[in-house]
Amino acid sequence: MSSKKISAKNFILPVSIGAISLIIGLWLSQQMLINSNDTQIPKNLDATVLPNARPLVGFQLIDQNKQLFSPEQLKGQWSFLFFGFTNCPDVCPGTLKVMQSVWKTLPTKMGDIGHPKLYFVSVDPDRDKPEILKQYVQFFNSEFYGLTGKLDELDKLTSQIGILYGYDDKADGADLEYTVNHSAQLILVDPKGRMRAVISPPHIAKTISANFQTIRTFYGD
């Protein structure tokens, strides 16, 4: 009886080990397959792709619904970041119009795997309160998000991705008619919350759509 038990045990153990090794092996190969492209760059792109995706960390912004926004929230899907201000009559609405067109060409819908997000980050928090940002971004697409925050928190993000901004003729208090100079690149963040690509102006909807799909297919969702 006991010897039978022992032989059963003897049988179960190697099988279990084999099965576990097989599972680990499969998992590893799967991971290697997923990560095999991680440090390579897709070809024929009109975008600057970072061979080593850069994690974005350590900032806290406020979203259009006055909720805190942390780097963790960039994880789970591809995201486009564009920096600007709402009192910008030319370049910002122009770019958001372009992104509106890009959204129309996406093969995915909200909630689908691989469906990106767009964050318009205002670097003019004095004027762009969350409620203004909300109305502003949703004018272009109800799926778009607005972010802003304290200047030092914005700087923690912009300095990580090489976005510059500054004010012209901004006096303390009175005059609200200053303008904001800002980098006009689109930053593409991967589903792990890492900066993966930079798309420079001129922004053309067709090119952005095609580049995004290439990058997405190359690195995976």
Binding site: C88, A184, S200, P201, K206
Partner: protein
């Protein structure tokens, strides 16, 4: 009676001359403004300004009854950085034209006083250096600007 006649004739004549000179010197084409989110107080105006005369013409100021202030700005893209600079006394060279268009020169309509949406007309008055006033009607369009062009500067990359 004949005095009145002469005065009238002179007035009509003057009026006529004025209209003719205005029409012959500056011709505005395709004046439009992209519809902006209602929450925004700033809008842009685009158009082609033709100078049909043999003299350079300076645009000294602009105003609109729907906005607090109207300026002409230049969007420039340098090293991927968007910058706007106010253009004082914009000159339209003799027998030439300038074009106000997305991502470049644009009319900056600041401090919106009334709601403006697609289909609205924004009246703008340009004052030239010779004192002449040009009345422009900007048609507000939902304008699908699927393409952004760089300014006169370089389209830089990081």
């Amino acid at each position: 009676m004949s005095f009145i006649k002469t005065t009238c004739a002179a007035a009509i004549c003057l009026f006529f001359i004025n209209t003719v000179t205005a029409a012959s010197a500056i011709k505005i084409e395709n004046a439009w403004s992209p519809e902006a989110p209602p929450v925004v107080k700033v809008m842009a105006g685009y158009m082609k300004i033709n100078n049909l005369s043999n003299k350079d013409i300076k645009i000294q100021s602009a105003k609109s009854s729907l906005f607090n202030k109207v300026e002409i700005h230049l969007s420039e893209m340098k090293n991927g950085m968007a910058r706007m600079t106010k253009q004082e006394n914009l000159v339209v060279k003799a027998k030439s034209h300038i074009e106000l268009k997305p991502g470049e020169l644009h009319m900056m309509l600041m401090g919106k006083l009334k709601p403006v949406k697609t289909g609205s007309i924004i009246p703008v008055i340009l004052t030239l250096d010779n004192g002449e006033k040009i009345h422009i009607k900007l048609k507000v369009k939902s304008g699908n600007r699927s393409q952004m062009k760089c300014g006169s500067g370089k389209c830089g990359s990081m």
